[in-house]
Amino acid sequence: MDRNHTVVPAAGALETRIEEWRAHLRRSRAISGTDSAELEDHLREDIASLRAGGLSDDEAFLVGVRRLGAIDALTREFAREHSDRLWKQLVLSGDDGDGSIGSSASGRVRKMWVALGLAAAAAAAIKLPALFGISFDAEPAAAFYPRNIGFFTLPFIAAYFAWDRPLGRTGRFGLAAAFAAAAVVVNLFPFSVSPKDGPPHTLILTMLHLPIALWLGVGVAYAGGRWRGSDRRMDFIRFTGEFFIYYVLIALGGGVLMALSAGIFGAIGVGIEPLLESWVLPCGAAGATVVAAWLVEAKQRVIENMAPVLTRIFAPLFALLLIAFVVTMAATGRAIDAKREVLILFDLILAVVFGLLLYSASARDAASPPGPGDWIQLTLVGAALVVDGLALRAIGSRIFEFGFTPNRVAALGENIVLLVNLGGSAVLYSGFLRGRAAFSRLCDWQQFYLYILAAWAAIVALLFPLAFGFE
């Protein structure tokens, strides 16, 4: 009885002290929630064993905390090991040499000028063909712009990173050679645009897929030659998401600006639409890519992880949509109308699910235990697999009744590539949720898939025109 009286309030006091200690620990951004949970478990066990050895609560707490090490030293150790958590912070001044962590003010200003210079170069490059009489409006039969669309922007982004990162001479040379080789090959293709049918399908496929394949080259430059490190690849995936968001925001702003300038000049009877269309829009669109890439790096803190926030909002909504679709199909007994375009629609659905999964995985702390968000992700992937399976069954046998056109082969191939990715993800995810596999396996799988996607894009862009006779 007596004993109980002394222990209960003391235990309460102990809890308060542990609470304070934990709060203090959390203030450090290098120590994540799960790390502090792990440390707390350690502290509690230590205190329990010290108390069993005869120390009072107070003594046990002090000894335990002392043994864990001063929090400053602890933080430094964690920061060294988990430099990725400081990704968004400019606290550690670039001593790890990865270049993404800004150093001095003068360095930042220099980066800005280089980025703006390259943006201007990209803007100039897109109008350069005009000097040789090639314009957007009077598109000659050679289809110069569609086949080269990626080369007006991506080399400049890659150049920015190649300048910024310790890429090395061979890395820079290899990258330049890869871009140049792709440019030469694609310009040797004898695409011909007939006035009647419009551009050939293989040209459009090349236009859509070549930039995706070349984006891997940007990734190599981004990783600064340390592409093999899986963390750098994940950083590049994060970069891609933030880049996309920045670019969309800049495009929206640019659209507003152009609409307003057209309006205000229209008010005094000066029509500037031709100027906007043939100069401001293309130059702005090209230059903005480099600016967006630079902004992602320079302002990492401002727009901290927008892509993961968006995935968190849309993953449950998308899962609901897909489940509702399956339920409606089952309830009404309706079948998927096996039209030609339907496969492309399902490709898009798979691509969106792939993106949602990728960005939620990129933002997730691989060390934290399974949570409700993970079940939502698995549900989403499972629903997407079911829906796509239904679509493939509906179209499957009929797809090639319409004939082997490049578009259909590309659409089916895309579907299979994404289906395999999501199938593998579902297996790894459920393994993780059942405690059989580490979450990092799933991340490895997604990162490995970058190569598959780039390879597939390259096949469509460069081999399909050959295989289908440039139709």
């Binding site: 792990e38 066990e45 230590d46 329990a48 864990l68 030293a73 090991e81 235990p369």
Partner: protein, 107 residues
Amino acid sequence: MSINKDLVAASSTALVLAILADGDSYGYAILKRVREMSGGELEWSDGMLYPVLHRLERSRLVESRWARAESGRQRKYYRITKAGRHQLADERRQWQTVHKTLEKLRS
């Protein structure tokens, strides 16, 4: 005798892997084991162990999972991987080489 700090840091990988090769374990138990086995002469600061464990996990030498301990709290358990066992064998050879060299130099 207290063991020099650099040596403690250098030996941490081998020791943690050797303990995990015996069976899955968690931070506090690993530390206790090191103390016991070294007769209390290898003194690790508790907080330094976790960054080591996380580094090993990141380089896929160990895997971790969360499970409920008898106390009812969530606890992070570590398990050695195949790559970890290879690394351990390698580390053992390295330490033995150092040890043998020292022994030979004495005689």
